[in-house]
Symmetry: C2
Subunit: 117 residues, 2 copies
DNA sequence: TTTAACGCATCGTTAATCTATGTATCAATA
DNA sequence: TATTGATACATAGATTAACGATGCGTTAAA
């Protein structure tokens, strides 16, 4: 899996957690590769999560108590299904509020017509 | 100057360059502390650039040929005025396009109602 | 049988940003 | 007059999220 996002790394940085948490909150039970595929599909291949980023992130979020894992064998292949915990749900809401506020603030800073004080 | 942004570091990461370039493209000639103040004012203190981030960033952008510097003494204090170069103007446009596209893409990923394929 | 897609893991590196600290001027204030 | 806060810039070292590279194993298709 060698892939590359159309956005500079720096931009995408800081959004991985909220992407993962939010997808899980909407779709429920998902496994890593499924998350990768779903993001790829939703973004028209504009955001391609790196597996070297995604899998460690899922492990980290689990360690933090935001996700639960269940391992299964499906079609001879190992899968790890993740689910949001209650804490994960709360954190997702917080993240969403923060990121939306941030995007709005950024659009003000970057708006072509800002009024000088 | 000890300050703290209301957003998590990770989110703001990757947006410093475009903030600086875009402010300069709108306001023309500005100095570091002025950029800090302007962003603070525009964002209602939600984004407070750290001086340990801003000044190195200005130096880096200058080294990259995106900015020019002129040093002046104003009111007994040293100021370094920055301006966009042509290359900086082009880069700013590219950054703007990228970040707006990215924000739109993110809003799709994070939208509460995504249609499953 | 080889390639591609599936599915997960991990080690070492990168690089943007932060923290902390330092310098110096000026205005206000206690 | 001494101190604080705002103005103005600088830098060395630490942090840390994410990345690149690599590895393992399965299944299906060419």
């Amino acid at each position: 899996m060698y892939i590359c996002s159309m956005y500079s790394k720096e931009l995408v940085k800081g959004t991985l957690n909220v992407i993962v948490l939010n997808l899980l909150s909407q779709n429920g039970r998902m496994y890593g590769y499924e998350i990768f595929s779903r993001v790829k599909e939703l973004t028209n291949e504009k955001i391609l999560l790196k597996d070297g980023s995604l899998y460690p992130a899922l492990q980290k979020l689990t360690k933090l108590g935001l996700l639960t894992v269940e391992e299964e064998i499906v079609g001879g292949r190992k899968r790890k299904y993740y689910n949001l915990t209650e804490e994960g749900t709360v954190r997702n809401q917080e993240y969403l509020i923060e990121i939306k506020d941030f995007f709005q603030t950024m659009s003000i800073v970057l708006s072509p017509k800002t009024i000088k004080a």
